[in-house]
Amino acid sequence: MAIIVNLDVVLAQRKMKLKDLSEILDITIQNLSVLKNGKAKAIRFTTLDALCEALDCCPGDILHYQTKSNTELEQD
């Protein structure tokens, strides 16, 4: 998919663990792991809002759009 989830990068920048984030957001660590690994099919606005608030960032910091040509170049 062309949408990349940069949750792991943002977490590393904040020096925060997934477990801590799951406690703050009251979302299971399994669900956050699905999101972090890019396996999620959709993200609710409420979840995104809570994530941005907890990580003090914008949606653009967590979600990144990668064009198809970029993806192909990276794969090569």
Binding site: I27, N31, L32, V34, L35, A40, K41, A42, R44
Partner: protein, 197 residues
């Protein structure tokens, strides 16, 4: 939201309860059906009778569906065993449907409603019913053709049965098949729902 969840739990509970009852009824039906088949199978070892009466003809049992009785009589007149030729098809189709329904309601009983396996069982029920509908129409013709070609019995007439019963059977088969595909889509949607964070 809470009311909706409560209602869902009540519906699930209802599904589990009714499924338990249905499973028992299917089991009973299967036992009766198998018992009757075995009874006729034992009777038909040396005979070509497909009907049995008890008492002063108060209880009549038949191993072949009503629709095929005239063709069964024709086979018997030709010295063929109508029970083994037609009765087995009836038995196999019905016992297969009962088996798939038993497994399906077994899963419903456990509260497993939107599962790929359920869709598979529904699909198998649909395919069996549809094939049985086709067999209802073409089996007598195929049997006649086969016997005329490969055996030296007297020539049998080629019959096709097509009426409301056969059409209803085909409709039921198609409806259940379509429902199974709808259920498959629902299962996919449920799986995707689990990946919405």
């Amino acid at each position: 939201m809470l009311a909706s969840h409560e209602q869902q739990t009540q519906t699930t509970y209802r599904i589990i309860y009714i499924s338990k009852l249905t499973k028992m009824m299917i089991l009973l039906c299967g036992v009766i059906h198998t018992g009757l088949f075995l009874f006729f199978a034992l009777l038909n070892v040396d005979s070509s009778k497909a009907k049995q009466s008890f008492g002063e003809n108060n209880i009549n049992l038949t191993a072949i569906s009503e629709k095929w009785l005239s063709y069964a009589n024709l086979l018997e007149d030709s010295g063929l065993n109508s029970f083994w030729i037609l009765g087995t098809v009836d038995f196999v189709a019905q016992i297969l449907v009962l088996f798939f329904m038993f497994r399906l309601f077994g899963l419903y009983e456990k509260g497993e409603i939107f599962r790929v396996q359920n869709c598979r069982y529904l699909q198998l029920i649909g395919i069996t019913l549809f094939s049985y509908g086709l067999a209802m129409i073409f089996l007598p013709a195929l049997v006649s053709l086969f016997i005329n070609l490969f055996f030296e019995y007297q020539k049998l007439e080629i019959f096709y049965y097509f009426g409301s019963v056969e059409l209803t059977q085909l409709i039921w088969g198609s409806v259940i098949l379509v429902i199974s595909w709808v259920m498959k889509e629902a299962c996919l949607m449920k799986a995707e729902q689990g990946l919405v964070i």
